[in-house]
Symmetry: D2
Subunit: 361 residues, 4 copies
Amino acid sequence: MQKNVKPCYYADYLQLDKLLDAQHPESTKYGAEAHDETLFIIVHQAYELWFKQVLHEIHAILPVLSQDPVNEDQLSTVNLRIERIHRIQEVLVDQIDILETMTPLDFLDFRDYLIPASGFQSIQFKEIEILLGLKSEFRINFDKKSFYNRLNEKDRNYLLNLEEQPSLFDAVEHWLERMPFLEFGDFKFWQMYKDAVEDMLKHDEQVIKDADYLTDAEKTFQLNDLSNTRSNFDALFDKDKYQELKQQGRFRLSQEATLSALFINLYREQPMLNSPFRLLQGLIDIDEKFTTWRYRHTTMVHRMLGTKIGTGGSSGHDYLKQTTQNNRFFRDLFNLTTFLIPRSSLPELPPEVIKAVNFHL
Amino acid sequence: MQKNVKPCYYADYLQLDKLLDAQHPESTKYGAEAHDETLFIIVHQAYELWFKQVLHEIHAILPVLSQDPVNEDQLSTVNLRIERIHRIQEVLVDQIDILETMTPLDFLDFRDYLIPASGFQSIQFKEIEILLGLKSEFRINFDKKSFYNRLNEKDRNYLLNLEEQPSLFDAVEHWLERMPFLEFGDFKFWQMYKDAVEDMLKHDEQVIKDADYLTDAEKTFQLNDLSNTRSNFDALFDKDKYQELKQQGRFRLSQEATLSALFINLYREQPMLNSPFRLLQGLIDIDEKFTTWRYRHTTMVHRMLGTKIGTGGSSGHDYLKQTTQNNRFFRDLFNLTTFLIPRSSLPELPPEVIKAVNFHL
Amino acid sequence: MQKNVKPCYYADYLQLDKLLDAQHPESTKYGAEAHDETLFIIVHQAYELWFKQVLHEIHAILPVLSQDPVNEDQLSTVNLRIERIHRIQEVLVDQIDILETMTPLDFLDFRDYLIPASGFQSIQFKEIEILLGLKSEFRINFDKKSFYNRLNEKDRNYLLNLEEQPSLFDAVEHWLERMPFLEFGDFKFWQMYKDAVEDMLKHDEQVIKDADYLTDAEKTFQLNDLSNTRSNFDALFDKDKYQELKQQGRFRLSQEATLSALFINLYREQPMLNSPFRLLQGLIDIDEKFTTWRYRHTTMVHRMLGTKIGTGGSSGHDYLKQTTQNNRFFRDLFNLTTFLIPRSSLPELPPEVIKAVNFHL
Amino acid sequence: MQKNVKPCYYADYLQLDKLLDAQHPESTKYGAEAHDETLFIIVHQAYELWFKQVLHEIHAILPVLSQDPVNEDQLSTVNLRIERIHRIQEVLVDQIDILETMTPLDFLDFRDYLIPASGFQSIQFKEIEILLGLKSEFRINFDKKSFYNRLNEKDRNYLLNLEEQPSLFDAVEHWLERMPFLEFGDFKFWQMYKDAVEDMLKHDEQVIKDADYLTDAEKTFQLNDLSNTRSNFDALFDKDKYQELKQQGRFRLSQEATLSALFINLYREQPMLNSPFRLLQGLIDIDEKFTTWRYRHTTMVHRMLGTKIGTGGSSGHDYLKQTTQNNRFFRDLFNLTTFLIPRSSLPELPPEVIKAVNFHL
């Protein structure tokens, strides 16, 4: 550590001269300051500060997971950063409660002065979406158009460029693909697993057929769903079927990545799989909290605008409702649950496989 | 206060002998207790306790709002009870985080033993929905069927009977209808309001036309939306148009109730309108928190089941997604925002009207 | 509303060029950037933004309560602002969870570069304390010294000057004093109240004496406490006794203000007392949340520094523990509970008193 | 998994007949039901349900950490259970907000009927305290007396007996003691560490002396504190000094346990130390959340009773204030921070030591 450290002063350290001189309501320029406009500004500035922090964490995580091979010693630090992002997200959701202390009538006092500014123009927000894994082609229609209309050329190119970089989704997929859980020499794990799956599905089928509390219509419905589950399982082990379902949008991860993620979930208690398991859980947490934030945002906008169009020109809460459903990052990890089998049916790993799993890592 | 009060003992007062002897995992009966099943039981029991509390509050609110006329002195107590319900709902949302500490693999250890039990069979939950204002005809299809299949005759009849009773929605509508905000003698409030609305819509139309940052497609879209808003406003003042939109499902409250609620929102600073305004805000808070809970529940089930069918036979998170969107109680109050006009355009109430407003109450 | 509103752009509106260029870790200047220093900076900047918002609300509340007489029509807006401050405080508490994602070992990577900056130098924070009602003479010793040593002359004078202005405590006291609840003509309210109090204390005394589950030592202890309560009650009605207890620090509000606050609490269901009651509850909420934040801050510092001295030179968490206990704003309002009597013993207000209460307001 | 699983019904599964028939307000027996007494009952019943769940988790953790040697494969599951306890605690804190929707005047409607019942008589709560590590001799005076006076003989003996069992504190201490971080063969780790500490303390001393922004009084204060820190460090390595400080209450963990915990903190990124590190963090989280709950409980009681005595005979919030400060479980782990040194000063572990650390586990 350095000698000759200059004394540090709070207000200079935090650059409060800049930070606290950045709140200038539009309403003041047009005659009378609307009391609640300061709240509106500060809520959004707080969001942008936290977005910067989230990006700081994502930019520290990406290099680690993009290595070839990944240094598994660094996974614990990656996990702490993912958990930090999740904790920040909790505050981002709570901040909506603060904004809701503004009533629609009070918003009307200055709303018109903000047009056409809106959250669409938050570059950091789009950066986060892109770096987590959202690509233009997945965005709903309004989003795609706004991408081009609402941003200046510099920002637009910056984001389009960013889409060309590997996202967290890509890095995670790549990390999973390089795991050695596809072949175990003589130990035919995946065959044993398939057999256990088939037993479980047969059992499930029987439970449905024997269930006298179900109507015929319901039995049909549930048997169809089981048939669906069966083809998902089949696809898991068949390259061509997997590709087909991937093209339909049922899967986004590659087949090898999905199988590795499944293995990690099934054998998470192996010491060397503890951190990989936490990583997958952490990504699920982030995705879940992100969509919860979108939903909360939707209901808040419904409250604030009724059925009117938002300042950015979208149909307010309808737009947000769609993005809530569609703009997910790690849906595959949620869906992985479909492929779990009960612990009691899980093949026990022989010592040499345990050794191989642990030594690779 | 009584003399001769018998000493009270904590464990007897809370009937802990009953309460703490109600946790009996199914998995124990079938061979080996699944550690996480106790959590599953206790989470749901905590929900049922809070449901009982919410019903206790609703049952205290209903009689007050069902009076004819309502004793406005009691509104402050009604508001405290609505705020209590909202505070309880916050904990009900947080409890989902506790359940999510159970992983899907752990749920698989005992999930099969629970079939076909599920939240569909929670009578108190359905009671809350019905008493807030949800009627069978509004429920999505699966809900309707489950209503009949999953409940025994006694419970089914109990709930169907309950649907015949006035709900909170009915009581609020009735209370709003009896307010004197439709006529003000010589003061033509609603005509002045209509004029202010027309000015606002003309101004909005001009803003759209003048906006060079909008594409033609966007201008068309926004002008259409404005036209939609215009017909909603027209319907506000025209009995037949209102009925038409009501039949389409655009409104649920009666026209008089909607106009009263609008008036309360516009003139909420009148001392005697403080409590009525808080009441409407409180109902919005409850509705918003309920739908947030439904959404959180959806993502949790997605996480827990993937794309599989839930123990109650529904398509797990798809079902919940639909109820999140459809089973709202006070949507009209959210949509009321569409009809607000800026304070600066609001007609000033002459003294005799202020007096009338306050003296009625 | 203005015509010719210039288009508004998100990044300009929020001055993101300033806001997002204010994060410059010290560790970078001394060789190697500590990853967690950005978090440290951003957490504190988010705090400062919210402090600004809280001050914005306090500055809007003060003028209303400082009027002579207060315009009771404005109380509902004051209450919404107090509730907004409370909602912001909830996020301020949650932000501590974000900072705790930094471990002490990571803090050690840059902690030395921050010396002697610390929260003591947050002018906005001290402003909030002063405007809520904290005066220098109440501050614990270390605080007093730091007031002079850690701030430059300009800031020090600004705050000392601010202490001369009426605080929210002063304004609330003044507002309470001007209420007409001391005399009610022929209706001897306070005599009736005193009698009801005496009955209640006699009853409480008997309950203690009859309690066979209490040891003699406990009976003595409880009877002493009752005796204490009795002198507090006596002081309530006796100018000289009240002054004495006030000098001892038992009361801070004036006697008239305390009696008014008590009356508001007892008769809060009177429509015109609804808003005054909410106001007192809101101040209690703010005080409670502030002290909860101080406590959370204490445990976080204990976690982060162990028993070491903080960057600002204080004994870290010991200092914070003291301020948690001592730096309260509205302790009187909490203590008011001591003087409540059961509703069943409350004198019923005759019509002319109800009228007087309501018409004054 | 079993065949022939009997259909499971929600209301039977959760034993709702028992659970929802356990709410019987005392006020009803004495004439008129107090509306808020149901809330009071249900809040406490919800607490007792969650206490049962916390005990269920603690009872699953204890056997794992009490093994000799501990099976490190099971640590990840222990950590998930600790995190579950922490998540439950968050809801326990939030439940206080629900109880605070009851005003003191409403509590007065039924408070007298509850005497002398109080939280002192919650056996589960005391069980949790004891199993986490609280022993009678650490309890403050009032607690000790109430232990004997307020409980019946059966419960008293049950708890006294429980104190004889190993608590989580004991199990953790034992687990830490058995770690091999005291000797590393030729690698004189602790000597290197001592040298690094001495350098750091010398540096800190110089920083204080050179600090011209400090007054002489402050310099003296800080140098004294440094001297204190120095003797703590000395004690770390000297059996007799450690024992002395242990007797003074400065340490509770044994010296070997403290050294192991310190090592885990310093080298937490070693893959095999990830889970041990999380375990220590988890215990800190639980302790911190417990004391936060106590503090929240204190302010709530202050609000509810003012300065009066609680139903259980203690001086209400004063009692709670003392337990908040004193009844901590893992204070040593917080204080461990005092002994950390910057990463840059940390001795690098040679390969054979890394191997030894990992292979032991």
